[in-house]
Amino acid sequence: MTGPTEQAEHAARWQRVKQILDRALNLTGDDLTAHLDAECGSDTALREEVLSLLDANDDAGTFLEDAAVDITKGPAAGAGRRIGPYQLQSLLGQGGMGEVYLSTREVDGYPMQVALKLIRHSAMTPRSLRRFRLERQILARLHHSGITSLLDGGITDEGVPFLVTEFVDGTALDKSPVPESMPLAQRLEMFLAICDAVSFAHRHLVVHGDLKPGNILVTADGKIKLLDFGISRLMHSSGDTTEQRTGGTTQLAMTPAWTSPEQLIGQQAVTASDVYSLGRVLYFLLCRQSPIPIERMTPIQLHDALKETSPRPPSSWADDGDVEGDLDNIAATALEFEPADRYPSVDALAEDIRAHLTSRPISARPHTRRYRLQKFVRRNRAGVIGAAAVLLALVIGLGLAVWQARIAQRNYERAERRFQELRRLASNLISETDDALARLPGATPARAALVRSSLEYLDGLADEAKGDPRLREELANAYEKTGDVPGRPGTLNLGQITEALQSYRKAESIRRAVLAAPAPETERDRREEALANTLMRIGSILRATGDAQAALDADRGALEMRRKLLDRSPNSVPRLRNVASSLTAASTTLSTMGAFRGVLELRGEALRVYEQLVKANPSSEEDRQGLALAHVRMGSILVHEKEYADALKHYHQQLAIQKQLRSAHPGQAQFEIALSQSYLHLGNAQRIAGDAKGAVQSLAESQRIIEPFAAADPNEVRSRTLLATAKHRLAQARAALGQTDEASRALRSVLEERLLLAERNPANAGARGEVAETLSALGDVAMKVKRHEDAGRYYQGALDIFVELKKEGRSNFANEEEVQRINRQLAAIAKRKP
């Protein structure tokens, strides 16, 4: 239908329709009829066309009025307009949120000057209007000498919300000449007044959200008055959810320079956002500069820049020498990228300023680093931990630089002292981060990231450290710590065992070299203790890799050294503990080798030592945990010796201890996991002793406790391993009760999980052994229901793995026993075949 001529005709006709319509829109009744008669005459089609458009216009309502994308935010208001009782006089200011007009209202015949702010925003819904009113009421209650009071508010005819506040005859902080003329102390007093107003609002649950010099008025006599309290929140709350984000971002497109990073990406302002903006205001008052270059950046760019760049210390701009350490630290703390790293409140920030003014120590310097670390860890984000690692690397790197400078420079002592400081800082960073991470589920990737960057720097430092025994020792400590992070069995681990072993071996060789040098006796004792600790770690790693002989060497080395140390000081609690733990470790290694008599002996001795320790010091959780584990180990060897009654006594004793410990620390990963393990031990012993019902109860409890931890972080091998084991044993107990279908279903799912775990860490012989164990248990269940062919396949699968492990020299005695049993079962199956 659309030839060129035809289209031209259509176009011409439409112009005519438009013309008629335009006038018709303003007419009704007879006038309209007359107009149509005159224009359309006998052209009924034309008349119909106009009439249908008139109908459409009547029906259209708000059609297209709500723009799909609203860039300009509403109609322009202007001076001279009247809104309610207010006469708009002149524009006072304009910003992302709208315009402020100096306005008047007649009160008792006299004009009262007020400031009226139009809040440009898209259409309001009834619900958002209700919220707007609610917020307004809250703001109206905010009476403080440093805050401009809200007097009135409402909605204009066009649906634009407006607020009326007292009019303050002042100049914005950045335009006012007053602050610049003040000495620093007076500027800080002014800042305290600002903080006081913000803090007051926070106590009334109002967040400013847009603090900046432009919103802080300074009167001629140097008083401050804050504008626009809660407006940004009001804006947020007055829109629906999608509008909230638009409100936030468009507003920010206007004043991003003063805004907190979280607001830059559209999040709602919280009190910590105000702390950040106050930090910017402080920074401005100190040096009238911006902490990072922000010229022409978009909000997103700015956000990313703030994430990557540390604010330049204000003192580096200062032309006077007054802005030194304290104020740099205070500004830096207020300007932390992460809200949780900033001052916890405006009051805390103000308190540090006051402390500085009265020459008291401030909180920012001594506590920040530790505080910050805990926050890092609490937030549990790999990225943040990455930052911690970079910080650590930086500190160590700095230490190295200073140390090299020390050699080059004459100023020996000073460099030395500075270096010691940095070194201490570095090792604190490692241990604090690590200790905090150890208590948190889901933190293992973060730990691994921390380790990798730490190691690089340690290796670099190690080359430089030769000849300085104290530095070498600290290096050994650091290696040991990093070794702990990826995979010491018994702590949370990612299964990266080989990496850890390398770190420990590095620590060991450094320690041996240091020990070889002559030293006073106490110094030597300390170094021997440290070496024994390292050997213990090596033993435990080697045990996990299945290298029992090498593990035993390490265990025995440690035990021997510790026994000698105890001889020198027989009542020392730490040395008693050390001997007990070495006894335990050596016994565990012996058990993997099948030397059961030795095991029983060593474990008995360890149990007695722990009992002695707990008696001497009943409040020590560490010793109680040690005693619980000593019971477990006694129980386990007694089960092996088929002394079930004695064994179960020990298992019940250990469970009682773990229950007490857990109830003192509910929800804390290490205690919950320990309790789960405790039930697992008991349940397994019950199962073997023939109490299948008791076993099902205990094992189900074990599974229930560990499940959330395994789910919290799929990379967390230990709790997943534990969960799989609990399920495995539970299935076995169920099979013993005749619930074979359920048992074989559960075992198949355990098999899948254990295969995944073994795949994850091929170096862990135990994980592969566990796969074989599940296969063999599946074989047992199949036998029970007389599916001999299936059973044969499962057994054969298990056997293959065990044989493989043996070939690699990584089998243990329990495996050997299992292999014999499987062979008997396979023989039995073979006999049945025709």
Partner: protein, 190 residues
Amino acid sequence: MYSPDVTQLLHQWSSGNRNALDNLTPVVYDELRRLAAIYLSRERSDHTLQATALVHEAYMKLVDQKNVRWQNRAHFFGIAAQMIRRILVDHARGVRAAKRGGGAMALSLDEALGVSEKRDLEIEALDDALEALAKIDPQQARVVEMRFFTGLSIEETAEVLGISDSTVKRDWVSAKAWLFRELSRRKSDA
């Protein structure tokens, strides 16, 4: 960071040099497209910003803020209007395609632009109707584009198109009636 060319071109265009538009459009479009891609790559919904923010970001990036008058700004957004329309329509189609299978991209675009889903169909139909309107009255279609797809005011639209406020007002009213009727007819036909 900003492109001096764009500011310059906006000035030229405002002062009547229509060729400036030809040079301006691709720069603005490229930037919008580039930004849209960045916005899309931010997977998490709390990072999503909306079309408004996207256009603002492009504007802040391309234009020297100190050197523009409101007219230049209006021109910039006038150009953006076409692009926004295209993005929204593509998006609406993408969502429908996605519902027929595939198209995770389109769904994340939805998040990136913050467009309400119920609006998708309207926008697609509107785009078709607007296309038809453009055939009989291109200027009027542009008015709708600017008013609806960027929220430009009557005055700003008049400035960008170089016509009077009253013409824009007339065009706007009759276009709304025409489009409303068109969409109602299509709806009842369907």
